[in-house]
Symmetry: C2
Subunit: 538 residues, 2 copies
């Protein structure tokens, strides 16, 4: 019989922590770094610099756990205190990451020959920490505070406006936010850069608006044509989808899918939440969360594959560099490329469902007992133009982004006044997607982003889709019979290719460099269109 | 259909945090305190002092969450980093709580007339923070570090020794620990106090060894007689206990029991773990954890009631004073009295099971469909002297503690050498409990406490049992027909009485004062013996 010891004693050991202060001395802090005065060489300076960020990551990841917990199981009464905990810890992280000591260490490291390679871990670390630090220093504290406070107010007024379906309630906050973000963009812009591009580069380092504009224009033309073509054909019905799929079985399926594609459950978890996400709480603790809808099976299947894709990237980043640039993801677009690759390129492929048809049959014997791979493929390839981005299918989704990309550029440049935004939004939806929103709530008020000051963020979604397809295309060339492997449930070759071409590089390269190096060409719309046409027109 | 928005956007919002440093400015830190120079009056100084400890509690409770998570669901690979996170945060807490600024604030508050009442919140706060601070200052840093490091080594060697059933592998670490703890006790002892009493007072402020020795002697005499008397009678069998109780049903039962006695699930959670405990992560976030054994139903029932009792205390502490003495528990003994009161005095009572017999029948229809209250009472009142403290029943449990209390005093005073400990242990077990341990693993090596430097800790278990019975006794006098209320499932009157007499006072009174004020008399063995005789001899 397991002993009772553990119960009572463990409980008391817990309270005890409060009581005997001398027991609480951090063992970690005992292993002190050498005093700064005896730092005689760059290697030591570099270690101290890294330690500063590693320490920050210890606190930052605790804040991430606080937020994970808030969204998985915190009692409802805990909200106020939790907000203060997170805020306090994030404040400590901010202090650590912006400490004036960093500047001194960085200048000691000027010209260190170990740091000469800009894309090797040491060189990249110093280069990127310097870049981050300089950008930070450019931003005046009053602007930082104004943005922080406008963000809180902006989200509040956006929520109220959306609930009331009344754009005018949000417009003043939006005006203020645009003006602040424009200032921030101007402040951090490099010579020759527009404020919008500077904002975009916060999420997508090195991305050029000109290049994006051109790629997105190609994509728009091809997508509009594809949507027309799909809509001109008889719609393939998927009656099996309109059933109730027990949540317990969905959970077991989700775990098996995540495990199958390589998500490491020794170094991660899969949980349930109302708003799925992926968060990393340490070099070997990545948490993905998904949502289960009894009446819509794809939510959990593709939600899990999406988050597991994010998780595979996080689990593939160099652990030894956790908290430092070589251990960080390259950009939001690259992160999204990893989730979309597993969700769409792999997870919607015929080969994938060829392998998993038996699992679907056995998981839902009374609902899908005789399902065929073709039926599953049809179930997961439904297209229908709609008003709401986040409900959009894989094909029309990017059109929603292209509308926003165009509008937010005009808002930041001042070419579009917020007075004219609702009409401009409706016009663009009509010309791009073919539907005019009947209300602000279903139109310009549908997204949280602008209220939170996120300008230059939307394009990263479509970048993720484009990159995912271009990477998958190259992986198919590099790996012999990749489709055949997938059809056998062998995902290792693909994951290894991603590890070697994307994951292992952390933030050492820009997204454009990663794409160029991995695929041998700059980003274009071709591979995504090829994949969509292949899967939706067959 | 719930929108897809939440999934993908929430995910990206998460990663974003890393990317836009100016968003991360803590809103909390913006609400800055006035600079110290303009602190012109004690009220302001008091607020700054309190803020220092409130800030510490924001970090400390994050460390508690890290540990809670470690014991509920952290992926196995996350252990190393988690240890560093906890250690780092605890180091920050230690820094905050021992900042030299505190001394200055405390001396500014000397003689402040708002603080004149030592047991009112303000007076108690200043008095106890001063006491904590002065004790801390007495301890030399090298002793603190030696103890921290001996604790880590001590637990390691204890684990190895226990696994090998070889006391000699643990003895050197034990010698070192005793010597260090003796030094610590000498250092913090008040005039006229023995080192052992000083150590005891770390867990049980104000407790006197002389008084304890006398109460424990009475208890021992009476318990030995009671055990003899019970063993002289025919044993009541409880065959219904020897069944497999499905864990899912036990979980539902545990939640209902915790809810029934008043544990607030808006401000707390009940989870499963292998080593049950109770932890508090904020003024409205108390987590209790229990364990389910299919083949031993009482584990979860009494484990849950025990932890819920701890939880009720935590939930009853003044929320506004969270992180400060008026919001802290009074002592380990008082904490344990709350868990034991609900576990044993309430949870094993005939009245309790009178109310819950129908629930037991409906929860386990095929196993306990016809169970009677008397049968349940018998199931939960089994007595059998045994070797292992943590497996001991309610009656013999305290005898195990009395043995340890006697031995650890002799170890700290030097009257007992560790060479002679195994024999002394075995002799005392034989004379007190009537069994001689056949091995060190089942004898002197069974507890973690001494290896972790916890001397003076064991008596708090028995103190908890004694206090629980004396409080319950007084509650019965104060509340008309308490048994009748319990038999109707009405626990509010008892909880209200505990809130008013114990919980609301936090740490403002010593345990002895709390007991005297609540029960009108000093602690004695009588009430516990009365309860045990009443329930075990009927």
């Amino acid at each position: 019989m397991p002993s009772r010891f553990e119960r009572i004693d463990a409980g008391l050991m817990r309270w005890r922590a409060d009581d005997i202060p001398w027991m609480m001395v951090s063992m970690f802090s005992l292993a002190a770094l050498p005093p700064e005065s005896i730092m005689t060489n760059p290697q030591k300076t570099f270690e101290v610099l890294c330690q500063q960020f590693r320490d920050a990551s210890l606190i930052e990841s605790a804040a991430e756990l606080l937020e994970w917990d808030e969204r998985t199981g915190m009692p409802s009464g805990g909200g106020d205190f939790r907000a203060r905990q997170v805020s306090h810890l994030r404040g400590l992280v901010h202090e650590k990451k912006t400490s004036p000591k960093i500047e001194g260490w960085l200048s000691e490291l000027d010209g260190w020959d170990e740091a000469v390679e800009p894309n090797e871990p040491i060189g990249a670390t110093i280069r990127l920490l310097r870049k981050d630090f300089e950008k930070q220093r450019k931003l005046p504290q009053d602007l930082v505070e104004a943005i922080a406070s406008a963000t809180v107010r902006g989200q509040g007024s956006w929520e109220r406006a959306r609930r009331a379906d009344d754009y005018s309630q949000f417009q003043p906050a939006l005006d203020e936010m645009i003006s602040l973000q424009r200032q921030a963009g101007q402040t951090i812009a490099e010579p020759g850069q527009t404020p919008y591009e500077a904002l975009l580069n916060e999420y997508e380092p090195g991305a050029k608006v000109d290049h994006l504009t051109q790629v997105f224009a190609d994509l728009r033309k091809d997508l509009v044509a594809l949507v027309d073509e799909i809509q001109g054909r008889p719609r393939k019905a998927a009656p099996l989808l309109d059933q109730k799929f027990p949540v317990a079985a969905q959970k077991s399926l989700s775990r098996k899918l995540a495990e199958a594609i390589g998500f490491d459950f020794e170094r991660g978890r899969l949980d349930e939440t109302s708003h799925p996400f992926c968060t990393t709480l340490g070099p070997s603790d990545c948490r993905i969360l998904t949502r289960y809808e009894e009446s819509f099976l794809p939510t959990s299947i593709f939600g899990t594959l999406h988050e597991a894709g994010h998780g595979l990237y996080e689990q593939g980043l160099p652990q030894d560099w956790y908290g430092l640039p070589p251990g960080q993801y390259a950009s939001l677009g690259i992160h999204e490329s990893q989730s979309r690759l597993w969700e769409n390129l792999v997870g919607r492929s015929h080969a994938f469902w060829q392998h998993f048809t038996p699992l679907m049959r056995s998981t839902f014997p009374s609902l899908l007992g005789d399902v065929t791979t073709d039926q599953l493929h049809t179930m997961f390839h439904q297209v229908q133009p709609s008003l709401i981005r986040v409900e959009a299918d894989e094909v029309t989704y990017n059109l929603h982004i292209l509308v926003r990309f165009e509008l937010e550029q005009a808002l930041v440049s001042g070419d579009l006044a917020t007075d004219d935004l609702p009409t401009a939004w409706a016009d663009l939806y009509e010309s791009t997607i073919g539907i005019r929103p009947p209300s602000a709530a279903d139109g310009v008020l549908q997204d949280v982003h602008w209220s939170a000051g996120l300008f230059g963020y939307f394009p990263t979604y479509t970048l993720g889709n484009l990159v995912s397809a271009q990477l998958f295309d190259s992986a198919q060339s590099a790996i012999s019979d990749l489709d055949g492997s997938i059809a056998k449930g062998e995902f290792g070759p693909l994951l290894d290719w991603l590890r070697a071409n994307i994951h292992c590089h952390g933030r050492n390269f820009t997204p454009d460099e990663l794409v160029q190096n991995a695929t041998g060409r700059p980003l274009s719309a071709g591979p995504l269109m090829g994949s969509l046409r292949g899967r939706y027109l067959d």
